[in-house]
Symmetry: none
Subunit: 146 residues, 3 copies
């Protein structure tokens, strides 16, 4: 009887192994992935962006969600430290895990340096290429602005 119990435990343990060994890879993959484009000067889409991002986080948060906003063209200005009006809301989004990515091509064109950007801003080589990469990786694409 004891032998059977041990066998049972062994079987259960073995069956559990794959699940256990997957644990590292099983880091929660977000079920939902969304990339926003912000490519317009204020005010088109600047205020709405926060409503949109908050909706996405609220609705999909419990299932797992990854959100990135790509800023380029005239939208890059939103990430400038001088954009004090939006600083708190941008910081709050970054704190919730939202990636706020500045396009380095736009930075060069507008003579913006890393020091000019909010410290929580990320950077990508090209905003438009980033939108392509993200769509290729299964992100839904939403163009911000009206």
């Amino acid at each position: 009887m004891k032998k059977r119990m041990l066998l049972l435990i062994a079987l259960v343990a073995t069956a559990a192994l794959p699940a256990m060994s997957q644990t590292p890879e099983a880091a929660p993959k977000p079920k939902h992935k969304v990339v926003f484009e912000l490519n317009a000067q204020a005010p088109s889409g600047w205020d709405q962006l926060f409503h949109n991002v908050d909706n996405i986080l609220k609705i999909f948060g419990s299932e797992g969600v990854q959100v990135e906003v790509v800023f380029f063209g005239k939208g890059l200005r939103m990430l400038l430290k001088t954009n004090a009006e939006y600083a708190d809301r941008l910081k709050a989004a970054a704190d919730k895990g939202v990636t706020l990515a500045a396009c380095q091509n736009s930075m060069r064109a507008l003579k913006v340096t890393t020091e000019d950007l909010f410290p929580f801003a990320a950077q990508v080589d090209s905003g438009v290429a980033e939108l392509v990469r993200k769509q290729e990786a299964g992100f839904a694409y939403i163009k911000g602005g009206e």
Copy 2:
């Protein structure tokens, strides 16, 4: 002999069951699926929307097509009963099977109630989340407006 016949009938009936129970799901799946975003105040994209939807229905109709338009932000106003100028065209689209979905977040923000909307309007919890869900379900995404 009778017994065998009964058994045969029972077998055939059982075999038929799955097919029968699938009937509701087996409704013809559309080959093409398109979701439009309408997020701008008139006139940007309001007139073009009907051209776009009609083109999609005409070109893909024979192969099967499902079309949804999601109205939010300033685009929500298009679905208000007071928007008499567009009533006939919206009704015609709805009659052709196009889903016209109002964002409930925008409704709250603009203090719009169900009674304020055209009776053929559908509602979704969040316009932007709906755009994500539809893209996840294989819909092509077209942002209306210019």
Copy 3:
């Protein structure tokens, strides 16, 4: 010995046949595919379009990339021969293999004929249907303009 050699040659030749007959189809499939929408009047997005397309070609070129720009609505005017200001840049994009596609529905609406378009412009039955087809074929979608 000679017979065997001939047989060997015959075998090699036969084996090579499928590869040879596939050559035309085996043209390198682009790893990245991007479709742009240009649906706005100047200047929204007209200048940025070239930056965007050039970025895509530069960043993804070595891995293989296919780019198409679909012009409709007020964006169609960009492809008119009378649009001299943009002629060189459009021609350069076409020379790099970018498809510049005019919407025939917009052509009819604006009374534009093939002769009115730059000679390097392609044509599609419907700009919006083309955007759907391309997304169905795995193209990332970028709506140009702000």
